[in-house]
């Protein structure tokens, strides 16, 4: 798993495919109804949640099964503020308050767990429990958080008195997603990202080279929490409705499945898996949905056992294999080039 250089090389098949995907997403509102644009917008917010989990799980090796808690926290705080505290500018809610709130939660939880070196399966189980706690607490506060019925009628984002249309919200969500992707790509391509992979590969070894791995884990977990918070916040403004399952463990694990199938530790796999699977989910009838969920679970199991880098990994290996056989003769050692995903 060589790291690609962070500089974008637009000539590799992987980069071309990503660019084509991006163009398709940009053009999408021209071809679908406004209602569908909103649905696709929510896909993009869940893709952002998937990116944030991939940073923690795929790169740093910390499997979080509770990240929906921070997504949901961002969604709830946004719903409350947009509905009841109009004095706070919407942009500030989405880009400052929601991420700050979620980051505070991850910072606190991260400190609580990492200072006792809770990792591996215990980290997975404790984060899962946190998600369950959040969900049940939100379900109980009927007056303040709407209980099991949640909060309806969250307004769209207003910028200086002007309400964003569904299409504008879509482009905003897409912009945030692409921006976050590019940012994370730079991050994981830097020496900082190498330390994260070091923690994933061998935490103790990394510690004994002099890296304060607790600090690194805390930074990454907090950053990821902030991203999940923005994602949840955008979701609330787009869907207009927040409820306890947004905080829950089922959503958390679902996203983990999307990432695994797409390809963990590749960033693009998280985005690809999240969008593809949500889209397929929506196209299936009620009769088929159980068979589909079952098939997806079987695919997930297969990927976990045999293809840890998911579909993106398989595709990139295939393309790389074809490329190598095509020009193996005249290709010298070009360093870390040729890697499709990052």
């Amino acid at each position: 798993m060589a790291t690609a250089d962070a500089a974008v090389d637009l000539k590799t098949p992987g980069e071309i495919a990503k660019l084509a995907g991006l163009l398709a997403l940009v053009a999408l509102p021209l071809f679908v109804s406004e209602y569908q644009v909103s649905t696709w917008s929510t896909y993009l917010t869940f893709a952002l949640l998937a990116l944030s989990i991939d940073l923690v799980w795929g790169y740093t090796g910390l499997l979080t099964l509770g990240h929906a808690a921070f997504f949901g926290a961002g969604a709830y705080v946004t719903a409350k503020l947009l509905k009841e505290v109009p004095a706070v500018p919407d942009a500030a809610v989405v880009f400052v308050v929601a991420p700050a709130f979620a980051a505070l939660l991850t910072l606190g939880l991260g400190w609580f767990l990492f200072s006792a070196d809770v990792k591996g399966s215990y980290f997975a189980i404790t984060t899962l429990i946190v998600s369950i706690i959040f969900e049940s607490v939100a379900g109980e506060f009927v007056g303040f958080l709407g209980g099991f019925n949640g909060i309806y009628g969250v307004p769209s984002i207003q910028v200086v008195g002007f309400e964003l249309t569904a299409t504008m919200s879509y482009y905003l969500a897409l912009g945030i997603l692409v921006g976050s992707y590019l940012f994370l790509r730079l991050l994981v391509g830097s020496a900082f990202g190498r330390v994260l992979r070091g923690i994933r590969g061998n935490q103790e070894r990394t510690e004994f080279f002099g890296y304060d791995t607790q600090r690194y884990r805390l930074i990454v977990f907090t950053l990821s929490g902030a991203m999940a918070g923005v994602a949840g916040s955008m979701y609330a403004t787009i869907d207009g409705f927040v409820s306890p399952p947004l905080l829950g463990f089922v959503l958390s694990t679902q996203v983990v499945i999307w990432i695994a199938v797409g390809g963990r530790g590749t960033l693009i796999g998280a985005v690809f898996g999240a969008i593809l699977i949500q889209y397929l989910n929506s196209t299936l009838s009620d009769v088929l949905i159980n068979y589909w969920e079952m098939g997806l679970a079987v695919l997930f199991i297969a990927v976990v056992i045999g293809a840890p880098r998911g579909i993106v990994g398989l595709l990139s290996d295939t393309v790389e294999g074809v490329q190598t056989s095509l020009d193996s003769a005249n290709r010298g050692d070009l360093g870390a080039g040729g890697e499709l995903d990052d």
Partner: protein, 254 residues
């Protein structure tokens, strides 16, 4: 040699696990640029002692002074930052990464803050240094090889040069020849000789193999049941009756 301030001084170092005393009142010093060997039968407390020096375990009693400062209660990563770097007995490298990525990770470890690491490219002096060390370890042509596919000996050498790349003042090598072939052992000797001649570093080698120790070190400390029972030159140790008894005894047991 003894008139300078030692690089490392352990005084009365003791580690107990419940009733069991793994390291018992050990005094141990290492001078700058000195190479010392630590030997002892299985279960003598060598690994525990090393874990106390690196901070993996905290001492029950006693103090550790490094570079004139008390580091007894300093965290492992902080000790590594100050220059105590270890190579594990069981090779501990990043199997999924390339040789080059492994080296780069070790090289940036003295950066004082995570924020210094938000750069994608290494300076040319770091690249030159990585090339130099990989050449010493005969791994220059394997830069883009995934480490998991290297031979056991190659992984050992990689971990040694990674440790050197982390700019140690004290390098702890835990059984650098364990599990590798005779030919590879000779290469390991050459590697350590090369490091001793080129680098400003004190080395403590923990080993079983006396032939190996004879080649890389002049001074030996013998540990048995958590206590230092002898120290001196190779010849002194080999003629020491207590040491002979312990090693013959172990041979008889085996």
């Amino acid at each position: 040699m003894t008139d300078t301030e030692p690089l490392l001084r352990a005084e009365g170092l003791t580690k107990r696990f419940g009733e069991f005393t793994a390291v018992d009142d050990v005094d141990f010093t290492v001078q700058p640029n000195e190479t010392k060997a630590l030997i002892g039968p299985n279960g003598a407390g060598k690994t525990t002692f090393q874990n106390l020096l690196t901070g993996k375990l905290s001492a029950t009693e006693g103090t550790i002074t490094f570079d004139g400062e008390d580091v007894t209660h300093v965290s492992p990563h902080e000790r590594a930052q100050r220059g105590i770097i270890r190579k594990y007995q069981i090779t501990s490298v990043y199997e999924d990464e390339t040789v080059l990525e492994n080296m780069r990770l070790a090289f940036r470890s003295r950066a004082s803050s995570p924020w210094e690491l938000l750069r994608t490219h290494d300076d040319s002096d770091i690249r030159d240094r990585i090339e130099e060390l990989l050449s010493i370890a005969n791994l220059h042509d394997e830069q883009h090889t995934t480490v998991g596919t290297l031979s056991h000996g190659e992984k050992q050498w990689l971990e040694i040069v990674m440790a050197v790349g982390a700019e140690p003042e004290l390098l702890l090598l835990d059984e650098p020849t364990s599990g590798i072939s005779v030919g590879e052992t000779d290469d390991t000797v050459d590697l350590i000789e090369e490091i001793r001649s080129k680098e400003n570093v004190a080395i403590v080698v923990i080993e079983h193999d006396m032939d190996f120790i004879r080649k890389v070190s002049e001074s030996i400390t013998v540990l048995d049941r958590g206590e230092i029972i002898a120290s001196g030159t190779i010849d002194e140790i080999e003629n020491d009756e207590t040491v002979q008894r312990i090693y013959l005894g172990e041979a008889a047991d085996a």
